[in-house]
Symmetry: C2
Subunit: 204 residues, 2 copies
């Protein structure tokens, strides 16, 4: 979108801060034409390990803590936006694989199954002292993969920087996912429709 047009459609007249260092989130915001500055939060995500929270509470709380962390550190009026995405299979959170073997186990578990991607979103207006948080859930179904395909994907190196070990936007991810139910962009890392709609409402 044209940069002036999107600010006008959203009603945005303050600096916009992305409280995340995720390159995919930056790319998606650029796709919208949004002008923004990245100030990553310094929240340690490990404080949430072994949580009793259900997934939607977990991602919403984590996105809120990231956003508040940045809001507390800046000294000028701005809109701060933070997000957190998790992948959940059979009530367990799946992180980024740390080795080839872990990537293989992870993709084998996803094969032929449905998992869920959750993203929490939080907006803070530091000028008006306003806050809004929400989340999105998308179901993702994999077809049955064969071992050759899984190893070929691991060879590309793509699984290692991705929660769940795959990217639906890449070559292999696109032929692994047979069905989604919900928002596509949520699986990439930022549910654009919910982001846009929430921000527009928040700025009213």
């Amino acid at each position: 979108m044209d940069r002036i047009k999107i600010s006008e459609l959203l009603g945005l007249n303050l600096p916009f801060i992305l409280a995340s260092k995720s390159p995919r989130r930056s790319l998606l915001l650029k796709q919208l034409g949004l002008i923004f500055t990245v100030i990553p939060s310094e929240i340690k995500e490990t404080i949430f390990e072994n949580t009793e929270l259900i997934p939607e509470e977990y991602v919403t709380l984590l996105s809120e803590q990231k956003t508040e962390d940045v809001a507390n550190r800046i000294t000028f009026p701005a809109i701060i936006f933070g997000a957190d995405t998790i992948v959940v299979l059979e009530n367990r959170i799946i992180n980024k694989p740390q080795s080839r073997e872990e990537a293989f186990a992870m993709l084998s578990n996803l094969s032929g199954n449905t998992h869920y991607v959750y993203t929490g979103l939080c907006f803070i207006n530091t000028y008006k002292k306003k806050k809004f948080k929400t989340f999105q859930k998308t179901a993702v179904t994999f077809r049955e993969l064969d071992e050759k395909e899984i190893w070929a994907y691991i060879e590309t190196g793509s699984p290692f920087d991705k929660a769940g070990g795959y990217g639906i936007q890449d070559d292999f991810g696109s032929v692994f996912v047979s069905h989604i139910n919900g928002c596509y962009y949520n699986i990439v890392g930022l549910p654009l429709e919910l982001f846009y709609r929430s921000l527009k409402d928040f700025l009213k």
Copy 2:
């Protein structure tokens, strides 16, 4: 994907011909790393106007006719692949908008509603005289759009080369679609998972 790797995973050892001049289909096949040649079919799609066929029959038949047209014209052993995509709202096929006004009416009709995207796929092996055809259906739900957003999108020129008047992969399309049920890539123009799985089975 690596070009040798995908041929090996699919078991492809004949030239691959795409019977479609759609630039988006070419891009999606390139995303997979497939090596192919484009030979567009010369089928006139108007022969199907005022059809009594239901959408899945319509797209499957049209993809078959396109593929057969090219198969009949080439003189060497090859795998020919043809596809056709239609957008259906309330049992009516929606084509590409021909004017700003038509684009506005089209997007206003999609606003707040669920429509369906159908793609028919057909493969012919000219060497083995084998044929396979199938289709994919995806439900797409738009949030309620406001008039300003629709006109801003029409200004970009993006609606005019797209059946249904939108592209889920572009800036505005990504914030218009709130929910999909089925394959994402089907909405872009080629259901990659079904394509890959069908081709792999077809080449066995």
